[in-house]
Structures are given as C-alpha cells and as structure tokens.
C-alpha cells in the first residue's frame, strides 16, 4: 500500500555531515586543535639540549623526543576530541529536541546512530590529519636545522674522509626524520580513537549526562591500557582473565613507540591490529544500536 523505506546510506551521510558541521562550529574543538598545534610546534624546542658529540646521535635523540611528544599530543588531543565530541552528541540532541524532529521523519534509528558516529569519526579524522601535517612541518624544520652542521662540513672540508662521514650523517638524519613508517603509527592511533568514540557512543545510549559519558570513556581508556598488565598479574584466575577480555586492549595500538625507535612493524601486523579495532568497534556499535533502538526518547 505504502512505499517501503529501506536503509539509506544517503540519510546516514546527511546526518554525518550535519554532525560534523555542528561540531566544527563549536569553539571547544577549535581550541583543542589550536592547543594541539601549539604543543606540536613547540615540541621542536623541548629537545634543544644534548651534549653528545656526534651530530647524528644528537639528531637521533632530538628527533625521537620530538616524535614522542607529537605522537603524545596527537593521541591525547585526538582522544579528547573523539570522546568529548561523541559524549555530547546524544545529550545535545535530547536537549535541543532535534532528535524528535529527526526520528519523526522517515529515518531509521540505526541511520541516525551511524550518522552521528560517522560525523565524529570524520571530525576526528580531520583533526588527526591537521595535527599530522603540523607534525610533518615540525620534522621538516628540525631536519634542516639538525643536519646544518653536517652539511656545513660537507661544503667546507678538504678531507674526503671527513666529507664522507658528514654525508652519511646527513643521509641518516634525513632517513630518521622522514621515516614513512610513521604513517602506520598514525593510522593505528586513528583506529584507536574510532574505537574510543564507539565506546563513548555506547555509553551515551543508556545515559543522559555528558559528564557521565566522558567519565566512563576515560575510565575505559585507562583500563584499556592497564588490561594487559592486569591479565599478567591475575594469570592464576582464568575467569578474571576471561572477563578482562571484554575491555579492549589499547596497548596493542601503541606501535608508534616502536616505530619511532626504528623497529620494523610489518603491514601485516598493522592490518591485524586494525582488524582487531574494527571488529571490536562493530560489536560495540551493534550493542549501541540494540540499546538505542529500544530506548524511550
């Protein structure tokens, strides 16, 4: 009699785009992002000191600490953006009554939930990209600065031995500054942020308070980093270890540390960790959908 209303990707997209615009126009995110960019930019000045004599060793340490700081900022600010951005979605919708106007149109609840989620994922993605660009800029600046003395030696020295050594140093600094493996680290940070956003969304499907959502998500964040440790400590109690499996092991996503140290991280490993994140995330979203579709609004 009436036409069928199927699941519509276009509607999900509309809601995601709207969520993204709305979040982008809020001051909170601009402030967080500016803060992140400042931290990343100033990372190049943190590590100015060093008293090792070899230019390449000095560079190695300074680049390491810059990368550590930048990844730290990326991870923390990204986490705040993902968690806070998601935590306020449903409470705001309820407060502004917009959820009523949307769900009273031919829109499925799953479309609404996915749209909201993808909106923050997009916001997180844009933030991560912006921070990464800044990160690259800092590395470019620092690379030029650190290889300056070695380049000067290359130009001025008469001795071929000295010249060769300096050239090797320049090449080493360059290779360390622009290690393409960094992309793998950034990718896994992003997957981790998507997972945290999904968990926050799940929490907000049964709570009404944004503060509660943020608090629980932060708790999961810390628990997620502790869970590996806890499993080791409680090895004797298999039941406990099994229950701990419910908490996502966020340590798995921290390969950035190892990439910075120059350890080889194969794409296959990155793929598995991404897979772990995506499977976990889909389970969380399924649970969120289940609760949300039965929720009284």
């Amino acid at each position: 009699m009436t036409e069928r209303v199927g699941f519509s990707v276009a509607r999900v997209g509309t809601i995601a785009a709207n969520t993204f615009t709305e979040s982008l126009r809020q001051k909170v995110f601009n402030i967080l992002l500016i803060f992140a960019l400042v931290v990343i930019a100033s990372a190049s000045f943190f590590a100015e000191f060093a008293f090792e004599e070899d230019v390449a060793v000095v560079a190695s340490y300074q680049l390491k600490s810059i990368k550590d700081t930048c990844f730290g900022a990326l991870s923390v600010i990204g986490m705040l953006i993902a968690i806070v951005g998601t935590a306020m979605l449903l409470p705001n919708e309820l407060e502004n009554r917009t959820i009523y106007t949307i769900l009273s149109k031919p829109v499925r609840r799953l479309e609404f939930l996915l749209g909201k989620y993808l909106g923050t994922v997009l916001l997180t993605f844009v933030s991560v990209v912006l921070m990464s660009v800044m990160f690259l800029a800092v590395l470019t600046f620092k690379e030029a600065r650190l290889s300056q003395p070695a380049k000067a030696v290359v130009e001025q020295t008469e001795s071929p031995v000295e010249k060769q050594k300096a050239q090797e140093q320049v090449a080493k600094i360059r290779a360390e500054a622009f290690d393409p493996a960094i992309v793998k680290g950034i990718l896994l940070v992003f997957v981790k942020l998507c997972l945290l956003a999904a968990i926050t969304l799940l929490v907000s499907t049964f709570s009404t308070s944004m503060v509660f959502n943020v608090a629980v998500a932060l708790l999961v964040f810390f628990a997620g980093h502790l869970v590996g440790l806890a499993k080791e400590a409680w090895q004797a109690q298999p039941l406990l270890v099994y229950l701990l499996g419910i908490i996502p092991n966020l340590d798995l996503f921290n390969v950035a540390d190892d990439i910075i140290l120059g350890n080889f991280v194969p794409w296959a490993h990155v793929g598995k960790v991404t897979g772990y994140g995506l499977v976990y995330l889909s389970g969380v979203l399924a649970a969120a959908h289940f609760i949300f579709s039965n929720r009284e609004i």
Partner: protein, 271 residues
C-alpha cells in the same frame, strides 16, 4: 522498529568470538617483535615516580622515557653519578628496543662518568681514581651486553661495545700484553660482527682490521684488509674508502714484507 534480542546477541557475540584468536595472535606477534618494554612493576614505579608511571600506563612510554633521560642529564650536572646511571637504566628499561638509550647511556658510563670519577675530585689517590674508573668501564660493558641481548639485530651496539674494548678496556690494561691482546681480540670480534650487518657504515670493517692488528695478529689483519675489505664491494663505496684501504694495505705489505707478486699493490718505481 525494535531490534529483536536474539539478533542483538548474534551481532555482539560474533565479534567477541572473532576477537579472542585475533587478540592472541597480535599479542604473540608483539612478543615476537619485542614491542613495548618492561612491565610497570612496583619497583619500577617507585624508581621513576608516580607521574611517569601514570604517563606510562596511559600509553605514553616514549614520552616517559624521554623525561627520564632528561632527568639523567640533571643528575650529570649535579655530579650524582649513581643516580644518573639509575635514570639511564630506567630509560633503557622502559624502551629496551631503543638503541639510543643503550648507546648513549654506555657512552655516559664508560667515557664521561668514568673520566669524571678519575680526575674529578682531589680527595682521592690516583689508585682510587683508577679503580673507580674501571668500575664504570665494567658497568658500561655489562650495560651494553644487556643492550645487545635486547637489540641483537642491529650493528650499533656491537660496534659500541667493540669501541669500549678498544678505547677503554684495552687501554686500561696497564701495559699487560696478555690483557691487551685479549681485549683487542674481543674488540675485533665485535667489530667483525657489527660489520656483517648491511646497514653498518664502511668504517666498521676497517676498525675490525685495526683491532686485529692491535691484538698482534698482523697476518690476520692483512688478510682481513685484503679479502674482507678490498675485495668486497660493500666495503669500498666511495673514493675515500678506496684511498684509506689502499694506504693501509700498502703499509702492511711493507711491514710484513710480502713478496712482490703476491702483493695487491706491487711497489711502483716511484716509491
């Protein structure tokens, strides 16, 4: 439009079922690749302080290690050698796969602290100074050996340990020829080991040949120069490499008095 309970259970249970093997496999790979570092034990937490421990637990291992390294510098400036060494140890413990902490840390112990302990204060005798210096040489050696155990797949730490034998341990023999021979042989072994890694710079192999010579085995040194360096393309990458190696081979051919036909560089009429 309510979701049936059974469907929900399936949607949640299937990912959970998929996850366990995947999780275990990732964990296994992490152990295999030696990702991460020392677990945060109570002892480690007491040593690095509460703040660093929290950073560590939140997944900021690298940042925590960097801060502890900065702390090591503070101790250096205050001449607190043992505390400096402890900070170095902790930084390396947090990121045992970082060549920098082992490399630079051993340099602090074996070179800087050792020297400062020997000549830094006026209230000890020369003998006491030497004993203290040797303590730090040995400490640097054991530190580097642990580093090698953690990073056996790179040339850096073999080379550094070889350098420690060459520069410090052999020179600390006080003229005992047996000791000198022994230490330089160790150095040569380590340099040779380091030179086998494709990433090792060309000077590593040259240092191996020089250590063989210092250990007193001139024929072995000559053989190494000719067969392992001169005839190996990986060792002669630039004009500078060629110049240095040629000079060393000519010198040894003179010294060992190699007969003209066997020489790599037969005597020219000019010389």
């Amino acid at each position: 439009m309510r979701t049936p309970r059974s469907l929900a259970v399936v949607l949640i249970a299937v990912p959970a079922w998929l996850l366990t093997p995947l999780h275990n496999q990732i964990e296994h790979e992490r152990q295999q690749f030696q990702y991460g570092g020392a677990p945060v034990t109570r002892e480690l937490r007491d040593q690095i302080g509460q703040g660093m421990a929290i950073a560590l637990l939140a997944g900021f291992r690298g940042v925590a290690a960097d801060f502890i390294w900065i702390r090591a510098h503070d101790h250096w400036e205050k001449r607190e050698w043992l505390l400096q060494a402890e900070s170095i140890e902790n930084a390396a413990k947090l990121q045992p796969r970082s060549t920098f902490f082992w490399d630079s840390g051993s340099w602090h112990m074996g070179w800087n602290i050792a020297r400062a302990e020997r000549i830094g204060t006026n209230d000890i005798t020369i003998a006491q100074g030497l004993i203290r210096e040797r303590y730090w040489h040995q400490r640097a050696r054991s530190f580097l050996e642990r580093g090698i155990a953690n990073i056996p797949n790179r040339f850096d730490l073999y080379f550094k340990l070889g350098w420690l034998y060459d520069q410090k341990l052999a020179r600390g023999c006080g003229g005992d020829p047996e000791c000198v021979k022994l230490q330089n042989t160790k150095a040569a072994e380590l340099f040779i080991r380091a030179s086998e890694y494709p990433t090792a710079p060309t000077y590593v192999a040259r240092d191996a040949a020089r250590s063989l010579e210092k250990a007193g085995d001139l024929p072995a040194a000559y053989d190494f120069w000719v067969n392992k360096i001169w005839r190996d393309d990986r060792r002669i990458r630039t004009a500078a490499d060629r110049t240095i190696v040629e000079r060393e081979i000519r010198r040894l051919e003179e010294r060992l008095d190699i007969p003209a036909p066997s020489r790599v560089f037969p005597k020219t009429s000019a010389s």
